[in-house]
Symmetry: C2
Subunit: 212 residues, 2 copies
């Protein structure tokens, strides 16, 4: 947790430090981001940095939590629209849309989250990130159970695996958005996401398939 001193800072200064840190962490990842560079770009002294944060990981964890909070806002907002909805895929699409919007409007925060997700085992951030991942999967699981009860989805699926697959598909779409330079706007990412959703939804198999 940043110190009292940091929170007491003038808004602009505070934001400058955070924004620069987010950008650097997003561009270079945790290890390759240097305090020296943050400090230089933010126009503060090294010593000041350590009056604001316990250490590098303190700043990083703060940003991570921020990213998670912001993303959760997008999800909440999107799900609110679906309050009376009973269709599983609408929900899943909503989750997807929220993720996409979050990434489009907070690309650097999205990159930081993606990095942590990909980092895998890591004493420092495992707990925070696994919790967060588990949350997403649990939500999908909950929906799946309801969808099965409603006969919307066939009952012989494995809930655990399926939930994980659907969660990963969401991550995969975001990944594509964060990496492929071609997909840089809503106009491109939405149709793309819809294609993926459609593939998983209806399957690739041609109903007019001839035997081969």
């Amino acid at each position: 947790m940043p110190t009292e001193t940091f929170f007491n800072l003038a808004k602009e200064k505070k934001n400058k430090v955070i924004e620069i840190s987010i950008t650097l962490f997003a561009e270079r990842g945790y290890t390759k981001t240097q305090i020296t560079e943050i400090v230089k770009k933010a126009d503060i002294a090294k010593g000041s940095f350590y009056q604001y944060f316990d250490d590098k990981s303190d700043l990083y964890k703060y940003i991570l939590n921020k990213a998670i909070k912001v993303k959760e806002e997008y999800i909440k907002k999107e799900l609110k629209k679906l309050e009376e909805e009973r269709n599983f895929f609408r929900y899943w699409e909503g989750l997807n849309k929220a993720n996409i919007n979050f990434a489009l409007e907070n690309i650097n925060l999205a990159r930081v989250l993606r990095d942590v997700y990909k980092m895998g085992k890591n004493e420092l951030f495992e707990a925070i990130e696994k919790d967060y991942e588990k949350q997403g999967i649990d939500l999908i699981k909950k929906w799946l159970i309801i969808a099965i009860k409603n006969n919307e989805i066939k009952s012989n699926i494995n809930i655990k695996y399926t939930a994980h697959l659907l969660y990963t598909a969401n991550c995969f779409i975001i990944d594509y958005l964060l990496e492929d330079e071609e997909i840089d706007s809503q106009n491109k990412i939405y149709p793309y996401a819809n294609k993926i959703v459609e593939i998983i939804r209806n399957g690739l198999k041609n109903s007019r398939k001839k035997e081969g």
Copy 2:
């Protein structure tokens, strides 16, 4: 490339160094693996290490290439079985099976490859890994084009996205295998992989779905 000296080493000594390195790289990743530890566990002097390898990345690249070669063997072997096959999903399942078998029988090599894949942008290993990834995707693309021609798969899909999705689904299955302790044997991973394949193949949508 390791030096002549390294290749001239007694088989046992050579293998010990490589096996220990693979295990450590798999457990800790590239950065966190220390030459000091490799050297200690392999019972050789630091100086010897640098007579065998130019530097840390030299050893790593050697292991990476080894992993890729071994994996390619599994794929070749599996595809050979399908030589006269005309079914896209059989091919894709074959690729999957090869990946799974490779991972089951070479878990640490699989972990190293997974790490590189997740590492993303990286001056050192980008070239080697991106090439390798592209190979996998290109193979699926090729199959997809044929499958569309044969009316096996509907023609309105986006080949690029679909190939990427299918490739990612393979990676996802392996990921699950490498991380979930529950899935530790063929008996568990095959049914699991089949479920995923089936989901993507036929879709989740219940054909007997009631309107909701």
